[in-house]
Every structure is written in C-alpha cells, then in structure tokens.
C-alpha cells in the first residue's frame, strides 16, 4: 500500500556506495583473475587448485574455519542458552564482556595468544611455576594455538547468534511438551533440536565466514601454517602475481557467500515447511 515509486530515490546513496565500493571492485578482481579483457582463461584458478602450495593454503583455511566454527558453536551453546533464559547473574555485564573480542581486530587476538600461549607465554610460565612443566608452551604457533586464538575471536559472534535464535524459540512449546509428559531430554531432542538446528547452522555459517576472512590473527601467530588470506597479503606486499591473488580473493568471497547463502536457503525452506 505504501506507494514506493516516488521515494525510491532515497535508495540512491546506498546503491552508489555498494556499486562503487563493493560490486565494481569485486568485478574488477574477477576480471583480473581471468586475465583481463584480452582473451580470458582460468589459468589462475587452475593454479590455485592444483599448485600444491596455494591449494594447501586453501585447504588449511577451510579446515581451520570449519574447525573454529564447529568448536565455537559447541563451546558457546551453554552460555547462549543461559543468556537466552536470563539465568546468568549480572547478565548484562557478562554479555558485554563476552562481546569484547568482537570489536578486536584479529591482530590483537594474535598478540594476546602469543602473550598467553607463546614459548614463554603467561600460561606456560604459570604451569612451570605450579606443575614444574611448561605445558602449552609455544602452542600459539601450532594449529591448536591458532584454533584457540580464532575461537577467542568467535566467542561473541557464536554466543550472540545462538542466544538470539534461542530467544526466538517459543518457550510455550516446551511448556506444552512438559504438560504432555516429555522429560528434559525428550523436550530437547523432540522439540528444541528440530526447531533450532537451523540457527545452529547459521551460527556455523557466521563464524565460518568470519574466521575465513580474518587474517590478523594468522598474521601474527601463523608461523609455518599458510592460510589463504595470508597468501593474499604476501602476494600484495611482496612480489606477487596479481592474477593469482585476485583468484584467491574471488575464491574466498565465493566460499563465504555460498556458505552463508546455502544456510539461508535451508532456512527459508524450513520456514516454508513449518
């Protein structure tokens, strides 16, 4: 009923920004990746997927991101649940603290990781003092160190996404289930789970694409561990091959987009089903 026609021009600024700063650059990158206007080919992509090193970076990235996404989703599940049902003391403060890492750029995460889990990090040194052995020493530079760093980074995202989806869950349903004789576990498996597996997925998607993109952490801690964003970074600061670099970037974007979009589609389908 609100006649959109005359007001559409209000959209122009937004459109301009997106077109100029998002669509054009990405388009440019793509063009570059397939070799510009003059006869194009997909050499760079071939290189990316076949050349052992680049492929390793790609695989590492995917591996790390999925690892982080899964673990962060699981780790934050209980807290999110508590928050959603306002069961935690001084909830606001706690939530605020939880959201801290979100605005940290990855580099701070990296720094913190080194400080805590480096070869002479706080944790190993405490361990040394307490147990006489420097447990976790130098783990910052290994895969699990990296995962921990990213995890730290994803805690707020995961918690908030999960919390909001828990909040959306209608508690009357679980009351109804109770009145029908469903015990805690049955309520969880028969009612809660079927209704929130999608939110779980979307949490996964959010954290996944976030860790896929952030290279600040890796910049500092990733030692012998190459990641796609790092490669892109190296390509641009050192002597790199612009085509390959563009290809890498486009690949990153595509993956992130696909993951998010497919989850969205799944969501819509369930909406239609429910």
């Amino acid at each position: 009923m609100s006649s959109g026609g005359p007001r559409l021009f209000l959209l122009l600024p937004l459109f301009a920004v997106i077109a100029a700063f998002l669509l054009y650059p990405l388009g440019f990158l793509f063009r570059q990746s397939i070799g510009g206007t003059s006869g194009f080919d997909f050499e760079s992509y071939k290189a990316l997927f076949c050349d052992s090193y680049a492929r390793a970076a790609l695989i590492h990235s995917l591996l790390l991101s999925s690892l982080v996404a899964v673990s962060s989703t699981l780790v934050c599940l209980p807290s999110a649940w508590l928050f959603a049902h306002n069961l935690f003391p001084a909830q606001r403060v706690v939530r605020a603290i939880f959201t801290l890492p979100m605005s940290f750029s990855g580099i701070i995460m990296g720094f913190l990781t080194v400080i805590m889990l480096g070869r002479i990090g706080v944790v190993p040194q405490l361990a040394q003092k307490l147990f006489g052995h420097d447990y976790l020493s130098g783990s910052a530079y290994r895969l699990h160190g990296l995962v921990i760093a990213y995890l730290y980074f994803e805690i707020p995202r995961a918690t908030l996404t999960l919390e909001s989806s828990f909040r959306k869950f209608d508690r009357r349903l679980s009351l109804a289930a109770r009145s029908l004789g469903a015990n805690g576990w049955q309520r969880f498996s028969y009612v809660l789970l079927p209704l929130i597996w999608l939110p779980l997925l979307s949490t996964f998607a959010v954290t996944f694409s976030a860790s896929l993109g952030s290279f600040g952490v890796a910049l500092i801690v990733a030692r012998r561990f190459s990641l796609l964003p790092l490669e892109i970074y190296q390509q641009i600061i050192g002597y790199g091959n612009p085509r390959l670099m563009s290809a890498m970037a486009i690949t990153l974007v595509t993956i992130a987009f696909l993951v998010n979009y497919s989850v969205r589609l799944a969501g819509d389908r369930q909406q239609r089903v429910i």
Binding site: M1, S2, G4, P6, R7, L8, L11, L14, V17, F21, Y24, P25, L29, V75, C76, P78, S79, L82, L87, R92, V93, V94, A96, I97, F98, T99, L100, M102, F104, S105, G106, I107, I108, F111, L112, I115, I120, Y152, P156, R157, L160, T161, S164, R167, G184, A205, V206, S209, G213, S214, G216, P229, I232, Y233, I236, I237, S246, A249, V253, F257
Partner: protein, 274 residues
C-alpha cells in the same frame, strides 16, 4: 525450580570458564601496560620511555602517544566520519528497504549486507586494485570503512523498522493526512532515534577496531590505529604493545557496555555480524 539440575550447573561452570578465558589476557595486557612486569621478558626502547621508579610506570603511554598519537586521531576521525556518513546513507536506504514490498529490493538488501559476511581482505584488495590510481589517498581508507559500516547501520535500522511494524504506523499517519515526507520526518525518524544511537555506537566501535579492510589501504602518513597496534606488536616491546592495546581497549570497552545497556533484542543478531 528449586531442584538441583546438573545440566544447569555445568552450563554455569562453562560460562564462567569462558568468562575467565576472555578476561585473563586483557588483564595481563593492562597490567603489563602499567607495571614493570619482567617475567614476560625484557623491554627494548629503554632510551624511549622514562621508567618510573617502583613498579608503577606510565612512561609507556607517553611513548605510545608520541609515536602513534597521529594514528589515534586519524582512527577517531575515521570512526566519526563512518558514523555520520553511514547514518546519512543508511537511514533513507533502510527506510525504503523496510517499507517497500518490491521483490527486487529483497535481492538488493542481500547485496547490501554482503560485506558483513565476505572476507575483509578480499574487499580491501578489491579497492586497492580497482582504484590503484588513488592509492595512498587517505579517503580510500574511509571508503573501506564505509563499505564495512554502512551495511551494519542499514541492518540495525531495517531490523528496528520491521520490529515496530512501521508500515502500520505509516498507514495511520497517512489517514491523519501526512504525506510521505511528513511520515518520514515525524514518524519514521523519531522512532529510529534509539536505533540510530545504537547503530552509531556499533559503527564507531567496528570502525575503531577495523583491520582487515583498512590495513592494506594504509598510507605512510595515514595509518589507522589498529595498524599502529600491529606495528607495536611486531616492533615494540611487550610493555609498549600493552600500553597501546590498553589505549585501544579504553575506548572500546565503554562503547560495548553502552551497547549492552541500550541495545534491545533487535540488535543482538546485528552485533553478531559486526
């Protein structure tokens, strides 16, 4: 109710654990900035900071301001501009997105929100490569930030517009004789005041901490504070890095707390994408 619930208890414990994990590194860093902690290793740059006697010492802050003061100012400027421009662009845009039922707009909205889910580094090299001629212009960094913050603001606004069913209010206003301009000024904007505040804080925080997009866009003269942080992490001693980080936190923490107190539910699932 009053019964002992093991699940609940473990959930609480886990949350407390997470809480510690989140806070501990920050405490270490903040202490490191004020105290002459030696067990984390020696500090270079003796020639730079006048070490106070005793364990307390503020010299490092002076040093950080001396070396990176300009970056702080620049980042503040960027954040400020991002907020203003972001609001100016997002407000009308969000209004249309939330009120027009035209099919095409849904797709456009997806595109607008894209930057929230695709890797920042991809966008930044996109900007660099596409606008190579402007390389080294400081406003290219601003563009990077806008590209990242406008979707955020837009999302906050559309969410809250939808949450209070702006369409119905507009109908009433219309029946009371208000044309679309009146409706926009007297109905839409006033109802968005709160969301605008929240959105601005969010944008400010994100822009202040943004690294992925802007790092590569930095120029020698114009570097964002996170970039400076990175510099301190690599080049300066732990104490200096800590001081720098502490300065970063000093700005971010109040904002995040403010957000918790101001932000209603419709924002929680926006923060996650920050």
């Amino acid at each position: 109710m009053t019964k002992f619930k093991p699940g609940l208890v473990t959930a609480h414990l886990l949350t407390w654990l997470l809480l510690i994990v989140v806070i501990a590194p920050l405490l270490v860093v903040i202490l490191g900035a004020f105290l002459n902690v030696s067990f984390l290793g020696l500090a270079s740059e003796q020639w730079a900071a006048r070490k106070g006697d005793g364990i307390f010492n503020h010299g490092w802050f002076a040093y950080v301001f001396h070396l990176y003061g300009s970056n702080i100012l620049f980042s503040l400027l960027l954040a400020g501009l991002s907020v203003v421009i972001g609001a100016a662009i997002s407000l009308p845009g969000a209004y249309i997105l939330a009120t027009c039922r035209w099919r095409g707009l849904r797709i456009f909205e997806e595109v607008v929100l894209l930057p929230l889910s695709i890797p920042g580094i991809a966008m930044s090299i996109g900007l660099i490569e596409a606008y190579i001629t402007f390389r080294g212009q400081w406003w290219l960094i601003l563009c990077g930030h806008i590209l990242y913050t406008v979707p955020l603001m837009t999302r906050v606004l559309t969410n809250s517009l939808r949450s209070f069913d702006i369409a119905r209010l507009e109908l009433v206003a219309q029946s009371l004789g208000a044309g679309w301009w009146h409706r926009f000024v007297f109905v839409v904007v006033p109802n968005l005041r709160h969301s605008l505040i929240v959105g601005s804080l969010l944008v400010f925080a994100v822009s202040w901490g943004e690294f992925n997009v802007s790092y590569l866009l930095n120029t020698p003269l114009h570097q964002t504070y996170p970039a400076a942080l990175y510099a301190t992490f690599t080049a300066n001693s732990f104490q200096v890095s800590s001081a720098a980080t502490t300065i970063f936190l000093a700005l971010i923490i109040p904002i995040l707390f403010a957000l918790q107190w101001l932000g209603g539910d419709e924002f929680t699932h926006v923060e996650q994408s920050a």
